[in-house]
């Protein structure tokens, strides 16, 4: 209390302390013979008068303002609190491979993409916070940013050791839902898990082009009809982009034909920069998604074998870890990927006479604008920044709706029969029928009696 009083006594407003004010008041009361201050209200009037005339007057607060003084939240308060919370996330041990996004963002900045360092730091903390949440996570990386009309989505991709078993229709592929995604619209807020997609939804997503609105639960009104909300389409597009664009340098992974698993190669040496700057050095890591919406072909038991074979030929499964050189070329370009070299292109040799290069390679996908992979001789990162749509060379032509069916031919109308006499009762055909007729008549009579 003393400290508070002392503070009040020492505080000054425009150079005048409380002491100055009292001196002034005392002086006025002495000198001013015309104003005899005799009561508290006079005293206050004089005090106010002095303040106004000496230009250090402050208008009195109203009752509302005084009572609500506590509630005047500093506008940045919420933001500061959330950010502090995010920055303080720590765990003892995290048993997952968390991408070092902070370092990789610097790599992205060197090719003209990426975030500020501050945002990258926040993303790294977010990666950590999700890794802590679930102990089944093996791998976690920042997938990219999907722009939307109202609020953008930040996406994180996660690989689990045991996937969640959501009930799915029979024709869906479990392997397609191997990658699990979390989204958020604001790095300081919580992350939401995206639902799994069905085969039909994957198939339908190929025919529509859509700009996300920012509302996960929005109904999608497009033709052909997509059965699902925005979060399902979001997941479908994310999967398509991942499966088309996630690259790895040749030789890092090995595909085991028997177990059908991808594992790390035993002796891995990152390819030379010269090789990394050509399409030979890179392979697709995830499997290719078929037009059907699955990874492996689904044999619908209700279809005939010829139809199935035709569909299979139109939709072949591709081998794993395929080089990107064999991707379908985009228009007149050679292949689907544009390769550019940034950074220092000087060739150095280190002390062991091995070539050393600090150059940075950027691979851009023509078909999916916004998907890039950047690498130097130590790290590589695949990331996506965009609206989530393919680059259609021709303007988008929506699928035409089915032809309107022709009306069936009208049946000829014949006038209702109205004979003058009641028609003769027909003889029943067999004994059974006779019996049934009799039973029916008896039942009717009974009903009438009741």
């Amino acid at each position: 209390m003393d400290v508070q009083l002392q503070k009040i006594f020492d505080s000054n407003y425009k150079g005048k302390t409380l002491y100055n004010h009292f001196c002034e008041l005392y002086y006025q009361m002495q000198e001013n013979k015309y104003y005899k201050a005799q009561s508290l209200s006079d005293f206050e009037d004089l005090s106010n008068f002095i303040k106004e005339n000496r230009f250090y007057h402050l208008p009195l607060k109203t009752a509302d303002q005084v009572n609500n003084l506590q509630d005047q939240i500093f506008p940045w308060q919420e933001y500061c609190k959330q950010q502090m919370q995010l920055m303080q996330i720590k765990a003892k041990v995290i048993n997952a491979t968390v991408q070092n996004f902070l370092k990789l963002n610097a790599l992205l900045n060197n090719v003209g993409y990426g975030f500020t360092d501050e945002d990258a730091y926040l993303i790294q903390q977010s990666l950590k916070s999700i890794a802590i949440r679930d102990s089944n996570i093996i791998n976690i990386r920042f997938w990219g940013k999907l722009f939307a009309q109202n609020r953008d989505y930040y996406v994180i991709e996660v690989q689990l050791s045991k996937s969640y078993k959501e009930p799915q229709p029979i024709d869906c592929d479990e392997k397609l839902n191997e990658y699990v995604h979390y989204v958020t619209q604001d790095l300081l807020e919580d992350w939401a898990l995206l639902p799994q997609v069905t085969r039909k939804q994957m198939e339908a997503s190929r025919f529509i082009t859509y700009v996300f609105s920012g509302n996960l639960n929005k109904e999608i009104t497009q033709y052909p009809i997509f059965n699902g909300k925005e979060k399902h389409l979001l997941k479908a597009q994310i999967l398509r982009i991942t499966h088309a664009n996630l690259l790895a340098p040749r030789g890092l992974y090995r595909f085991d034909d028997e177990t059908k698993l991808i594992t790390f190669e035993d002796e891995f040496k990152m390819p030379e920069s010269a090789e990394l700057s050509t399409m030979d050095g890179w392979v697709h890591l995830p499997p290719n998604i078929l037009k059907q919406g699955r990874i492996t072909f689904y044999e619908d038991p209700s279809l005939k074998e010829e139809e199935l074979n035709q569909m299979k030929e139109a939709d072949p499964e591709l081998e794993r870890l395929k080089s990107i050189k064999d991707d379908k070329p985009f228009e007149q370009n050679e292949g689907n990927w544009n390769i550019k070299i940034f950074g220092e292109t000087q060739q150095y040799t280190n002390q062991e006479e091995q070539p050393l290069s600090y150059q940075i390679v950027q691979l851009r996908n023509y078909l999916w604008p916004g998907a890039i992979t950047v690498s130097n001789s130590n790290d590589f990162i695949s990331i996506y920044f965009g609206y989530g749509n393919k680059n259609q060379q021709n303007s988008f032509n929506p699928l035409a709706p089915n032809d309107i069916q022709e009306e069936p031919e009208d049946i000829d109308e014949i006038p209702e029969p109205n004979p003058r006499e009641q028609p003769d009762e027909l003889e029943p055909d067999s004994d059974d029928e006779r019996r049934r007729e009799q039973e029916r008549r008896e039942a009717e009579l009974q009903q009438q009696q009741e």
Binding site: F115, V211, P398
Partner: protein, 297 residues
């Protein structure tokens, strides 16, 4: 984007995942300084970067406010190698519809021939061209000797396509917060020195931003021609173009930094920090218009 504030303003561009690398920044600064020393403008702005397959284009605008009635004169400059800025060629209205159908990425080679008129050896025209060798209206000299001689037909180079795209984006997208500019009594445009920025509530409403081009809608044209136009701040067109929904206004976590994006030209970004005089716009993208927007909303 103000040329002296490029490193700070780039954090707005980071919202769309784009930035300038350190090498680009250094070279750009030198080139911009060279440009501002050879030509005098009231203001020199960095307009943006268009990514190409081989090299990128960097564009700058020079604005001249003085002695220009109602709207400043804009001059565009481009460079592909970041050594020296050159003037962008003037627009040739003949190819307007054709340019809008180009969906190929820019290559980064300004002299690349896109439409071959003269029949010289050059690159083959892109596949989606209807009639690449459609002849220019040929002057019949033997009929009328008074007919004016038209200039010899030129090939349509990538630089010309660049000129179209830059002018189109500038026309359709360039924006400012309301209150940032004002008219002088002689109807010249100036920056408003007493503009303190939009406050927190105003900054997140798209009605408080306007186009930065000579007004096109009739009521704004009237407004700017009136004598008391210098007392109003909203004499430019509103951001209400068709298709509706092409503008996307977003804030960051702190709600103070506002970015406005256009969905027809993905890569365009207008920005403003509430409560300050920081505002501007830039384009970081591949220079291809999103004509499917009407299907996508």
């Amino acid at each position: 984007m103000e040329i002296y504030r490029i490193p700070e303003d780039l954090r707005f561009v980071n919202q769309i995942g784009q930035t300038l690398s350190a090498e680009e920044k250094i070279k750009l600064e030198i080139a911009l300084i060279k440009l501002s020393s050879t030509q005098t403008f009231d203001q020199l702005l960095f307009w943006g970067r268009i990514e190409g397959t081989v090299a990128n284009y960097y564009i700058a605008i020079g604005l001249n406010f003085k002695n220009n009635f109602e709207f400043p004169h804009k001059t565009f400059f481009y460079t592909a190698n970041l050594k020296e800025f050159q003037n962008l060629p003037p627009l040739n209205p003949e190819y307007k519809e054709q340019v809008e159908t180009f969906r190929q990425l820019f290559s980064g080679q300004p002299e690349k021939i896109l439409i071959n008129i003269t029949g010289e050896d050059g690159d083959q025209p892109p596949a989606d061209q209807p009639n690449p060798d459609e002849p220019q209206p040929v002057v019949k000299n033997d009929d009328d000797s008074d007919v004016e001689i038209k200039p010899p037909p030129k090939n349509f180079l990538e630089v010309d396509r660049l000129a179209y795209v830059v002018n189109a984006i500038e026309f359709e997208c360039a924006l400012l917060p309301v209150g940032a500019v004002r008219l002088t009594p002689t109807h010249e445009l100036r920056y408003n020195d007493s503009f303190e920025g939009l406050n927190l509530q105003e900054a997140s409403k798209i009605i408080n931003y306007q186009h930065f081009r000579a007004p096109q809608s009739p009521n704004k044209k009237e407004l700017i021609a009136q004598d008391d136009a210098l007392f109003h701040y909203d004499f430019f067109d509103q951001l209400d173009d068709h298709p509706v929904g092409q503008w996307s206004l977003q804030t960051d976590s702190s709600k103070y930094q506002v970015t406005i994006r256009n969905l027809q030209w993905p890569g365009f970004l207008g920005y403003h920090r509430a409560g300050t005089r920081i505002f501007g716009y830039a384009y970081f993208g591949d220079g291809i218009k999103n004509v499917d927007l009407a299907f996508q909303l």
